[in-house]
């Protein structure tokens, strides 16, 4: 397993000039992009932030380099430094060569010759990355005009149409005149890619291009990037914090921590043979959607270091379970390990790591918690929440003075499920499938609701008086998606946690005691109660939110995307905490998430929602291992797994387009417009799907799995299946 692309400078620290000189001499002449000793400092009021500290890599034509690391590790700054897009306050040193030409030190004007031409970039947030006041066409044409002033108008327009078609935008000719706000996030990211590849770049940098998108859309966009790379032959730098995303597409990986590459090497070496505790931790922190085996996730405690001060030892030491005194003695340099070509790690103990070392042992991952309910069969446990045929329809009106009802949005359409004591029930689906509305219907206790919600034996129909409501409220509490927005910025943690307790009528002494308990319970330092939320990290804030939900000892906690705003390493800690709390306190969870791997990790049962309806429901292992509904299959297939060999070979279902607007929902099966089975059906079968609504029916006797599809075993349409040719140099 050798890689043509080499990453990482292997020399130990030497004086910069000498290093650069050597680097210049030794840089492979055929590298399209070669970066040496890249350093970026920002001068802030508090001193210089050393955001990037010595990044080296060579990128060969047509290859893909993945840069991974937590947020704040300097990935974006590295890419912006290469593009020359850092603010003037940034101090950049080192060398960046594009086809042998030095880019650092060029003026903004000189850089413009390369930017958008040989060197292109796709940014993270597609919603804000396009100018709102210009049409998509104008913005694509602009990219052409800048580098080909002589091109005729018609030629440019033709090329723009071609590009839009290439990135998979239907009826591209008409869409040229559309404004960005008329496009969904996924479509806008496609436009961004179209702009980036407009001039056939040699190097394409993608900075977290799919982080803001739904999984199905992420799969589409990654596919588009793949096509784009094939069409243009560009080398790609793929930046992400999600190890799954790069597993399948990268040739090489560079793991960054605190502005420095801490491990580099060929993708298989990094994933199967990590030699640095941080890399091992990152890999162990990711839950897997494809394995049933329950093991705790590896949490990486603590926070990345402050880059204001130059580290005197290994910068990972404060969080590293293997840290010893020797680690604090100077920062370890990136050194070759294990005899694999190009594999290097910055750890003094890398020699003893790798291969058979179990990351769970290294990081002392907590044992899988066992709940006292686990032993009791589900049917014998009491029900904490039951929904029967819950519906929420929004009338859609048009007209200014006289409102006309032009249709109904069936946000939630006949939902029934129950949650038993001690179990975690999850709802998954794309955004817009009605998950949040379902939660709201449960939380708001409308007595005149269509359908019934029974919480701890009390129905929402009875919830007319405040006393009943108060009793129901105590049974269930909620944790929100955005940990920042869910905490009043003007409340100290103490006040945040005291609020539900005061509301429950506790006296001051009891409140104090309970707050201390809660802080411990969620793993926060009790002496932090006087701090304001903005003094905590995202993961800590989410713990505060969890503590608040637990304050009044509810039976059921409703979790709305509780970890989607968090970094993987932090996410692992919160997931472990949730797991632990469920076992220890006998809680039940209703979890809404779009990340199926998280769901698989912590749930017992799962429901898959599409356009307001449950299309498949059952025990999580059953549903995920043996999905029957085509939508479940597509969702599962959209999740990238952090396993390069599997990723490279597996066949994926790529759903076409976005979730249709609920208005356009077909009469028969909701999913028909995007269904890969439907597309391959003979006309008679299609007719059935289009006219009849498939009922939710049990899959087979003996399981509680149910699904709503007429043709669960139908063939999948070829066009929606994608399998990449396994790249030969990776062949085992």
């Amino acid at each position: 397993m050798s890689s043509e692309t080499t990453t990482g400078a292997t020399q130990p620290a030497r004086p910069d000039v000498e290093r650069l000189h050597l680097a210049g001499l030794h840089a492979p002449t055929d590298a399209v992009l070669s970066v040496r000793d890249l350093n970026v400092r920002f001068n802030s009021e508090n001193g210089a932030v050393h955001a990037v500290r010595g990044v080296d890599f060579d990128l060969m034509p047509g290859k893909t380099l993945g840069i991974v690391g937590e947020s704040g590790s300097g990935k974006s700054v590295t890419s912006l430094a290469i593009m020359g897009l850092l603010p003037p306050t940034a101090e950049v040193s080192g060398s960046v060569r594009l086809n042998g030409r030095e880019l650092l030190g060029l003026s903004d004007k000189e850089m413009c010759k390369y930017r958008g031409n040989d060197l292109a970039m796709v940014f993270q947030d597609p919603l804000s990355s396009l100018t709102p006041v210009f049409t998509v066409g104008t913005q694509i044409v602009e990219a052409l005009t800048i580098h080909h002033p002589g091109m005729s108008r018609a030629a440019k327009e033709a090329r723009a149409v071609e590009l839009l078609a290439m990135v998979g935008i239907p009826s591209p000719k008409d869409r040229l005149k559309a404004f960005p706000h008329e496009f969904s996030g996924g479509m806008r990211q496609r436009v961004m890619i179209a702009i980036a590849i407009a001039n056939n770049p040699r190097v394409l940098i993608a900075d977290e291009p799919t982080t803001a998108l739904d999984v199905t859309i992420q799969a589409q966009v990654l596919e588009v990037l793949h096509t784009a790379q094939e069409e243009t032959g560009a080398a790609v730098v793929m930046i992400t914090h999600d190890l799954g995303v790069v597993a399948g597409m990268a040739d090489d990986i560079m793991v960054m921590y605190a502005g420095k590459p801490v491990e580099t090497g060929a993708v298989d070496d990094i994933y199967y043979n990590p030699r640095m505790p941080y890399t091992m931790g990152l890999l162990g922190a990711v839950p897997r959607v494809d394995v049933a085996e329950k093991s705790s996730l590896v949490p990486i405690e603590g926070m990345p270091p402050n880059l204001l001060h130059a580290p005197t030892g290994c910068s990972f030491a404060p969080r590293c379970p293997l840290a010893s005194d020797a680690c604090l003695d100077g920062e370890p340099a990136l050194a070759p390990v294990g005899g694999e070509a190009g594999h290097a790690a910055a750890c003094i103990k890398s020699g003893s790591l790798g291969g058979s070392v179990d990351v769970h042992e290294v990081f002392a991952a907590p044992p899988v918690p066992v709940s006292r309910f686990d032993a009791i069969p589900r049917e014998e446990r009491s029900t904490v929440l039951e929904l029967t045929d819950v519906r929420k329809h929004f009338p859609l009106t048009r007209g200014a003075l006289i409102k006309r009802r032009i249709g109904t949005v069936k946000a939630v359409d006949g939902l029934s499920f129950d949650i038993r004591e001690g179990e975690c029930f999850s709802i998954v689906g794309e955004s817009g499938s009605g998950k949040t509305t379902t939660l709201l219907e449960i939380m708001e206790f409308h007595p005149d609701q269509d359908g019934e919600v029974v919480i701890g034996g009390l129905s929402n129909k009875q919830a007319a008086d405040t006393k009943t409501k108060a009793r129901m409220r105590r049974e269930l509490q909620m944790v929100f998606q955005d940990p920042t927005g869910a905490l009043d910025p003007r409340f100290t943690v103490y006040e945040v946690l005291a609020e539900p307790l005061q509301n429950a009528g506790m006296d001051r002494g009891a409140i104090r005691k309970r707050i201390m308990e809660l802080m411990q319970l969620v793993g926060l330092q009790p002496d932090h109660v006087n701090r304001f939320p903005n003094q905590f990290s995202g993961g800590q804030r989410q713990r505060i939110g969890i503590a608040r939900a637990l304050a009044v000892n509810p039976k059921l906690v409703v979790l709305d995307e509780p970890v989607s705003a968090l970094d993987v390493s932090v996410q692992a800690g919160v997931i472990n905490l949730l797991d632990h709390l469920r076992a220890e306190l006998g809680l039940s969870y209703l979890l809404v998430a779009h990340d199926l791997s998280v769901v698989r990790h912590i749930s017992n049962r799962v429901a898959v929602m599409y356009l307001g309806k449950i299309v498949e429901i059952g025990a999580v292992d059953r549903v995920f291992d043996n999905p029957r509904h085509p939508y479940t299959r597509a969702l599962l297939s959209a999740i990238p797994v952090p396993d390069p060999q599997l990723e490279r070979t597996r066949e994926r279902i790529i759903l076409q387009g976005d979730l249709p607007s609920p208005l356009q929902a077909p009469k028969g099966c909701n999913f028909a417009t995007r269904c890969p089975v439907f597309a391959a059906l003979p006309p008679a079968g299609q007719e059935k799907c289009l006219t009849l609504e498939p009922p939710l029916e049990p899959a087979s006797a003996g399981t509680d799995q149910q699904f709503a599809c007429f043709f669960p075993d139908g063939e999948l349409d070829e066009d929606m299946l994608v399998a990449h040719e396994p790249a030969d140099q990776h062949a085992p």
Binding site: Y114, R115, G116, F123, P132, E142, F179
Partner: protein, 327 residues
């Protein structure tokens, strides 16, 4: 879009009607022209006064509601806004004065906007540099000076210039020198009359636009889409000029709604101080002359200006922001 504008238009018509009616009631119950008439020499008898008032449709013996109905009927059926205590017809007087005021404001509005926005862009481009600090400090200063005092200071300055030069370069009051033959001389005369008030209004008005435009542009220079534009191969300045600037106009366009009435309000002071016989000074004179109909008419005019400003702002916003086009 047209439907939307029409709807807004109807709302404003209702509002204008209501504010004008409220204004009429306020005026009719607090302005008593008869009392003033009574002071005339030779002193007329109360009967004579009442009689003359009745003839002009200002019968002091009717109650406010009756007078309101009469007044409204006049407007709705004959577009007749009534008469002043001295017998003049509001419609005729109004026509002349609106034209004078409009001439005064039009130049000022355009200059205020153009200079304010231009300086905003200029100072944003030189953020924290000397020029920016000077310009922005000036704008903050303009914020704490009452408009009439600023006008007065400009007037003083003009007088000083005249005195220093020893010749009358600027006219600090009035709109024209009577008796000039049409032609070049009259044009120069007109300019000399216009310069001081226009400069005064503009100097005071641009501050708010400068600060706003500067801030909106600065909010946008580091926007993601500017970065995208640079990534395409535009220099920073090109990217800002082509992308950020256009976006930063959106909030400024929205604020036009408030410029026009603000300048109009400033116009009251300006007309008073520079002795221009426009609607503003008329309204104040009318009030001191206890002229109910004139006061109400100017009030209605003010409301109309406000509504026009708001509609214009809607229009300008749709022009620069495609997101509001598809309602």
């Amino acid at each position: 879009m047209l439907k939307y504008l029409a709807k807004r238009g109807i709302t404003y018509v209702v509002m204008i009607f209501l504010t004008t009616s409220a204004g009429y009631f306020l005026a009719v119950s607090s302005l008593k022209p008869a009392l003033l008439e009574q002071e005339r020499i030779p002193r007329p008898t109360p009967e004579q006064v009442a009689n003359s008032m009745r003839l002009k449709g200002l019968d002091p013996d009717l109650n406010p509601w009756e007078r309101y109905v009469d007044w409204l009927t006049g407007i709705l059926t004959r577009w007749d806004w009534g008469r002043s205590p001295n017998g003049a017809y509001i419609n005729a007087e109004f026509g002349d004065r609106v034209w004078i005021s409009t001439r005064l404001f039009l130049a000022s509005i355009i200059l205020t906007l153009v200079i304010g926005v231009a300086l905003g862009v200029y100072s944003a481009a030189r953020q924290y540099k000397f020029q920016d600090r000077v310009i922005t400090s000036y704008s903050y200063l303009a914020y704490i000076v009452p408009a009439p005092i600023a006008y007065f200071l400009v007037q003083l300055g003009a007088i000083n210039i005249n005195e220093t030069v020893g010749e009358r370069i600027f006219f600090v009051t009035g709109i024209s020198t009577p008796g000039l033959a049409p032609g070049w001389a009259q044009f120069v005369d007109m300019l000399a009359h216009y310069v001081v008030p226009t400069v005064a209004i503009t100097l005071v008005g641009w501050g708010a636009y400068q600060i706003a435009q500067r801030q909106y542009l600065l909010d946008n220079v580091n926007a993601d889409f500017v970065r995208t534009a640079r990534a395409k191969g535009l220099t920073r300045n090109q990217a800002i000029a082509r992308h950020a600037l256009r976006v930063s106009f959106i909030p400024v366009a929205q604020s036009i709604a408030f410029t026009i009435p603000a300048i109009f309000a400033g116009g009251f002071f300006a007309e008073k101080i520079f002795a221009w016989p426009g609607v503003g000074s008329w309204s104040i004179d009318a009030i001191s002359l206890q002229d109910v109909n004139a006061a109400t008419a100017t009030l209605a005019y003010g409301s109309v200006i406000f509504a026009l400003g708001a509609i214009l702002a809607d229009f300008a916003t749709t022009l620069v922001d495609p997101r509001v086009r598809v309602q």
